[in-house]
Amino acid sequence: MRMNKLLKYVVASVMCSMALSSCTPHFPESSYDTQTRPDISPDFQNVTVPVNISPTNFYLKGDWEAAALKISGEKGETIEVIGDSKNNFVIDVPSWKKLLANNVGGTLSFDVYAKKEGRWLHFEPFNETVSPDSIDRYLTYRLIEPSYMGTGLIGVFQSDLETGETQSIFENKFFHRDPHVRTQKCVNCHTAQRNHPENKMFYFRGPNGGLILTYNGQVKKINTRTKEMFAGTVYPAWHPNLPYIAFSSNVIKQCFSSNDKNKVEPFDFYSDLVLYDIEKNTISPIQNTRLKQETNPNWSPDGKYLYYNVSDSVFTVCNNYRHLLYDIYRIPFNVDSLSWGEPELVYAAAKDKRSATYPRVSPDGKFLVFTGALYGTSTQTNRTADLYIMNLETKEVRNMTEVNSPTESDSYHDWSSESRWLVVSSRRGDGNYSRPYFAHIDEEGKSGKPLPIPHSYPRYDDDLLKNYNVVEFSSAPVVKTYADFLSVIQKDEIKANSGFPENTSVEPDGITGATSPRTR
């Protein structure tokens, strides 16, 4: 009796597994060529990928009964992937790594198949070129809704570009429950020294907020605003070798368009540059001017210059922000005497009725990439924003058309440690949500079609309702935990000392109602 039952179970199990295996789609043995390209997302067609990148998983758009993918390396190795029920292609990581390793400098050919009405169709293959230049392993960024005034659920995250996995560094979700303070608890302004998170900072704004600084293994909460400053510190730039962080100190406003493609415009009424000495816990002025606006500081790789953008435009009403044009300057920093030289003009954009912002020098010191737009400084929402590259030896500047999107904003950017990859946040996908794209930059500063960020879940960015903001490379994972940051946030802040000259004061500005600095 018992044997009978057992036998029944075995037979049933075998039949079930046979039925299941007959349902499992197989790789097509024959197919019809469609002569068309597959409609895939993210668009990895004909991009250059770093040798250490995670699988470029994607999905095939449209209604198909089944989908299959064959990846063939020019120098050998093949991977076959059967799409899942939603036509997602998730490539096996070890096989992918092997494929890349065997095809360095070569190309991978992607053959996509789709089944419709029982017939397999074969799309035109597309390629990915495997660059021998590896990319920094991690990308840190802020995820933020494309909101304007109130603070939503915001967090700083880190993606492992070699595995496609994402990890949260810090989020404000704990504070978002309280209706009385939720709109003030922003998390922003994250950066690390030399793309390494051992020394890292981000800001936690609002009540109980401050600069959350990880330095020499310790986490501290600092209030960097001194009585001489008209605003807090933003847009940090960590000196590559020394314990200094340059900031701009800005009075930031926002304007909303009633009928325009650019729906919101953040801009500054006032901005100056300051330097925070971590070890002395002192804030001192770098550029403290009344009639100029200095912002977006960034160090040269040797730490001898601080690049930033400057505008002569000072205005008082919202409507004028289109006249806000910035040039790029740099100011020499003497690392021995710790003194500043005279500012030098690097790129004059304003004379051509344009604005240049976010100057970033490549770690090898050869190129300067900046964002050019018709106006303004916060160009994430500005559809005229494009990346420009300057050869620092020849001073030649060109629009990076091969990287930029034709109609949407291409704005914030960062260099990888080896100067071979550039990450740019662009709204080219849907016009509303920015996503990171990686462009390979060769010795001549030339590039090609940029690569979207790959994810283990191919629909991640399509389903994500947030912007990637302030995308920055990181060579290692973050060293501190949530608990470390939370415990510091609950503690009292450490107030920074003032390194301003004694005669510096802040006076209310009669025109805007803001406060502005003036050195007597």
Partner: protein, 606 residues
């Protein structure tokens, strides 16, 4: 003989039992009917709004976002169920099914035997229902409104867990206790406080039998609560204090919080058998049933959230969603003390029915503030709709995004993003929202209907009279604004078409800003062959009161002139008595004069 008597007794017992079961079923049937009517009819708009204010997407990312928090799995399931409130009766049916299960579990756990004590087991459900329907204006805030389901479901799971623990403990007490403690602690991750709560139910259930066991269970409850919360706060990186009672509603939302608490206490009392024994000892079945019925109705009547304006706003939002402007006008007819939101929806309906100039002032002039202590909640009650249907699509988008960010993502706003993108011809953005809405249960077909317009967004506008007006009246001039009200924004344009200019004039007047109205009127000389009567009234009165006679520029009718003279004469008797004047001069209600004189000054800007 003896045998026969025994048979008789047994027959009577069976009849009694049968009648008791029948009575219980009848009572439960009545309760179900009552609950269905209360939820599915009386609170139909509320249930519909709840699902509209929530979001559930069938994708991995969304599931991860929701599940990775304390009690995340319970929230995820609750959000899924909440979707069914798209059809309020269906939603109500599911909620009521939960009530029945909850009552059944309480009957089982309390070992209620009599009809009265069994009926009494429905008491906590009553408070659950009141708590669920008491969110009020909190539903416009960032409160996790799936609480409405998660509270009920959480309690139910707790009771089922308690029942399982009891069964296992009957077999092996030690093993049962270990299982109860381990499961309750670990379940804190998935269902939050409702995991450890099952131990508390176990503890109170043991009080009357064995105080030592009760203490032990209680100690396990406290330990499981703290251990579970520590575990979840460590895993999800949250504060311990926030993890402890999640996903129970935040105490900021006092009304649902308190009624929920009463429900929890009554659940514990039932489980402890306190009320049952009291009832069985002190009161007869009939009296207790009568008392229970009276109490139920009294609770529902006095404790339920019955703010008429809140309900009207919900109805108006729903009618506006379907662009049923006649329905909106019908709905506002009976409103005596409207909120700004109600006034705004009425303005939208009048505007789209081309009745703004004629009917704008024919409405109560005394306004009421919304019943919420949180500032800016009122924005969520009408701003996205108001700006959108008044053709300020970008500004509607701005407010929608603000609400999306500050007070939570939801179906309603996502649909607005899509509509706005299509009207503005931003098809790539529209496609993103269509793809996401296609992942929903009840909004997918709506999204699919919109897919056809991606290749030709103009058709979207051409096929809909309301959208045609929205698109046509979009300002051609781009101005930069901050966060002003619509009237002020309309005043910021140098160059407005006639329809928008009329809106500017009328809304200015509606907001009692006569100086601005007159200033604007001088710019509108070519706009009218003859001014609407409401405007004529104002310039006549102005001419009578000041030296500035605009009637030479804008001709007025004899009838209007006489009406104004008569009004002015009558109103002069109530110069210092506006309250009395408002009553005495009621026959003039509907005129701009009456509005100007007796209008509620709290309406600053719509």
């Amino acid at each position: 003989m003896v045998k026969n008597e025994t048979d008789k007794t047994s027959v009577f017992a069976k009849i009694n039992e049968f009648s008791s079961i029948a009575t219980l079923r009848l009572l439960m049937g009545m309760f179900v009917l009552f609950a269905l009517l209360f939820l599915g009819a009386y609170n139909a708009e509320y249930l519909y709004k709840l699902q509209n204010q929530s979001l559930f997407l069938k994708n991995e990312l969304f599931a991860n976002e929701i599940i990775c928090q304390t009690g995340g799995l319970l929230i995820y399931v609750s959000r899924y169920i909440l979707q069914y409130c798209y059809y309020p009766l269906l939603g109500a049916f599911l909620i009521v099914c939960g009530y029945l299960l909850l009552t059944k579990m309480l009957i089982v756990l309390s070992k209620a035997t009599t009809l009265a004590s069994k009926s009494l087991c429905a008491l906590p459900v009553l408070f659950v229902m009141i708590s669920q329907t008491s969110l009020g204006y909190a539903l416009y805030d960032n409160c996790e409104i799936s609480f409405v389901i998660s509270f009920e479901l959480g309690l139910l799971i707790s009771l089922v867990l308690t029942w399982i623990y009891k069964r296992v403990m009957r077999l092996n007490t030690k093993f049962g206790l270990i299982l109860a403690f381990g499961a309750s602690t670990l379940l804190h991750l998935a269902i939050g406080v409702y995991g450890p709560f099952s131990l508390l139910v176990l503890a109170v259930g043991a009080v009357r039998k064995n105080v030592r066991i009760a203490f032990l269970d209680f100690a396990l409850f406290v330990m499981a609560l703290f251990l579970g919360a520590s575990l979840t706060s460590e895993i999800y990186g949250d504060f311990l204090s926030a993890s402890l009672f999640a996903p129970y509603i935040n105490y900021y939302y006092l009304r649902p919080f308190l009624f929920g608490l009463i429900a929890v206490v009554t659940v514990l009392c039932m489980a402890a058998g306190v009320l049952n024994s009291l009832l069985e000892k002190k009161l007869s079945t009939n009296v207790s049933l009568l008392l229970f019925a009276v109490f139920s109705f009294a609770v529902c009547y006095f404790a339920s959230y019955r703010n008429a304006n809140f309900r009207t706003e919900l109805k108006l939002q729903h009618l506006t969603e379907t662009q049923d402007w006649d329905g909106v006008l019908e709905e506002v007819k009976s409103v005596e003390r409207p909120t700004q939101g109600i006034a705004a929806y009425r303005i939208l309906a009048l505007d789209h029915k081309d009745l703004l100039a004629k009917e704008l002032f024919n409405f109560p002039v005394r306004f009421e503030k919304i019943d919420s202590e949180y500032k800016d909640i009122w924005i969520g009650t009408y701003y996205p709709d108001y700006f959108f249907y008044m053709s300020q699509v970008d500004l509607s988008l701005m407010w929608s995004m603000e609400l999306w960010t500050a007070t939570g993502r939801n179906f309603s706003l996502m649909k607005r993003f899509l509509q706005a993108a299509l009207i503005k011809g931003e098809t790539a953005t529209a496609k993103k929202y269509i793809d996401l809405l296609k992942q929903t249960t009840f909004h997918a077909s709506w999204a699919k209907d919109h897919e056809q317009y991606l290749s030709n967004p103009h058709k979207y506008v051409e096929n809909n009279k309301t959208f045609l007006k929205v698109a046509r009246c979009q300002p051609r001039q781009n101005i930069n604004v901050t966060t002003s009200g619509l009237t002020e924004i309309l005043r910021s344009y140098n160059n407005l078409d006639s329809e928008n200019f009329q809106r500017r004039l009328l809304l200015g007047l509606y907001e009692n800003n006569v100086d601005k109205f007159l200033e604007d009127l001088m710019k509108a000389r070519g706009l009218y062959a003859q001014l609407p009567e409401c405007m004529q009234e104002v310039i006549i009165l102005y001419a009578m009161k000041t030296n500035r006679d605009l009637t030479k520029v804008f001709p007025v009718s004899r009838a209007v002139y006489e009406r104004v003279v008569s009004f002015e004469g009558a109103a002069s008797n109530f110069a210092d008595k506006p309250e009395e004047g408002a009553v005495a001069l009621k026959k003039y209600q509907g005129s701009s004069l009456y509005h100007l004189l007796f209008g509620n000054p709290t309406v600053e800007s719509l």
